[in-house]
Assembly symmetry: C2
Amino acid sequence: MRMRTKGSIPKARSYNGDVNVSNLGEFGLIDKLARIAGKDHADLVIGIGDDAAVWRAGPQFLLATTDTLVEGVHFTAGADRWADAGWKVLAVNVSDIAAMGGRPLFALVTLAVPPRTQTNALERLYVGLVECARQYGVAIGGGDTVRAGEFSVTVALIGEAQQAGGEPLLLRRDAARAGDRIAVTGTLGDSAAGLRRLNEGAVDSNRLISAHLRPRPPLAAGAEAVGAGLRCSIDVSDGLLQDIGHICTSSALGAHLKASTIPLSDELRQAFPEEALTLACNGGEDYQLVLIGPEEQIKQLQTRVSERLTVIGEIVAGEPRVSLLDDEGREIAMPVRGWDHLRPTA
Amino acid sequence: MRMRTKGSIPKARSYNGDVNVSNLGEFGLIDKLARIAGKDHADLVIGIGDDAAVWRAGPQFLLATTDTLVEGVHFTAGADRWADAGWKVLAVNVSDIAAMGGRPLFALVTLAVPPRTQTNALERLYVGLVECARQYGVAIGGGDTVRAGEFSVTVALIGEAQQAGGEPLLLRRDAARAGDRIAVTGTLGDSAAGLRRLNEGAVDSNRLISAHLRPRPPLAAGAEAVGAGLRCSIDVSDGLLQDIGHICTSSALGAHLKASTIPLSDELRQAFPEEALTLACNGGEDYQLVLIGPEEQIKQLQTRVSERLTVIGEIVAGEPRVSLLDDEGREIAMPVRGWDHLRPTA
């Protein structure tokens, strides 16, 4: 039991002595639940704690992941936002499969629907979802529709891992090694900048808004990374520093990032010249891939993928934390303030 | 476009001319969305419209299904109800796999959580969920946790189908034939009766309440049915008449049920002597299996399964509807009033 500081207000505890999830946070809750769930099945190669679960199914290795968008939390139900939400809820799942180096197969779609929801809206959502499904070769296998007080859509996406010699070839969070280079696809911060523009009332789309509403995870790059011999990746969903922090925790190593190398789009620099780096480090929802491995493999991968792939730092021995450095190697103060699904938005 | 009756109040249409889902209903909505989703993948053996999706994955046939419980719609968050909700949200998915004749493998769990939710409650939910997982040999593979305004839990369950000679052996909704017997496992109506008792404020559990809170789908019976040569089943989730109605629609055949043979528990007869048959026909949430096939196969199955297995009627040529008959073969008036997830509760 955690001790209270004398005289402090016990914010972490509510009237009945229990902790509420907002205070515990997403990652504390996941830890607690993972301990209850255990990992007691021989066929479960990877359970709670990576981008997707990995399951040995006879000669195959299945990947499975799920993500939810809640109206009012993750998207706003404007007239033309339903199709975007449909695209996005599948795309964020594709991003998880990409971060395992796998290939998506089919999706189940759950709609939680207030009774007065307009049918048009759900049809628009499905149109966007099917557009994304075609883009990434995903079949819609069915799902569930339930009545609810608020609208949400959940996608469970099943995929398969590459394999060789009866073993899965995976990009894992816990496979970083000291000396590995850290690379990232595309540019970072665009999505968070797009969200700001939307919150300011922007109506016309541009690269930033499109990055937020219609993320395009680099699925082929994840598969190529496995082919190039890489074994470590995470997708940038919560924010670059926080997500690389997950790699550090899982791999028990540190990470040094060189701030000046973090790839920023011209649009981001022009729109938010003062905050571009902060948005790139903590914005989240980029759905780019962080790919980690030996320098030679990263170089080889750069010749194979069509996406921009930028080396932004390296894995180091020591405390499992992320340090953001300037060109002289001095640490830049940048609070890790990524997305926690159970805390109020920053 | 549907025509309005002159002078009628256009309840089906809201201010902007669109239909809301409450009026369209669950099955109308599913039809619309299935048309958008299409079925454009060679590996998708069964898509939208059966108890679970079936996917050809190399030499295997995967099953996948998903179900959601929403607090306040599907369960009430009393102090001791969280563990029951955890059990049930997995059990209803196991029921879908049973109704395909398959074996469940692993589950993904999505929690949509208001920030002030007590951690204790979620731990209790997981305890119930893991109890059910152990009962049915299911591994918890991970999931997602998101912030929401109301609590819900979604499980996606992946399983595998039995197979022979490279083809899946499935219990399908569209495989009934005229002359087939209709059998059902266990007793019906207990769950709906238990829900009534709970709504009346019952606190002590009994067989009826337990049937509602902790349904035990007859997984082994589904697998045995495949072994006995049966190819048609549905689980009783929406209500017996409605669910057999789905078989009729999918198979383009009628069904005759003999009311006096529908299995009712002594507890149900005693608790609701006047309404026992109605609860058994329309109550829903029994999570028993309707198993349909030639008389010889049903007889063979009766010797193999530990559950009570009762023949309640037969499949007949003609209009795809369910007729409930008395012992003289006269039709009993019994409106099909099962569960529609998008309409208000009856």
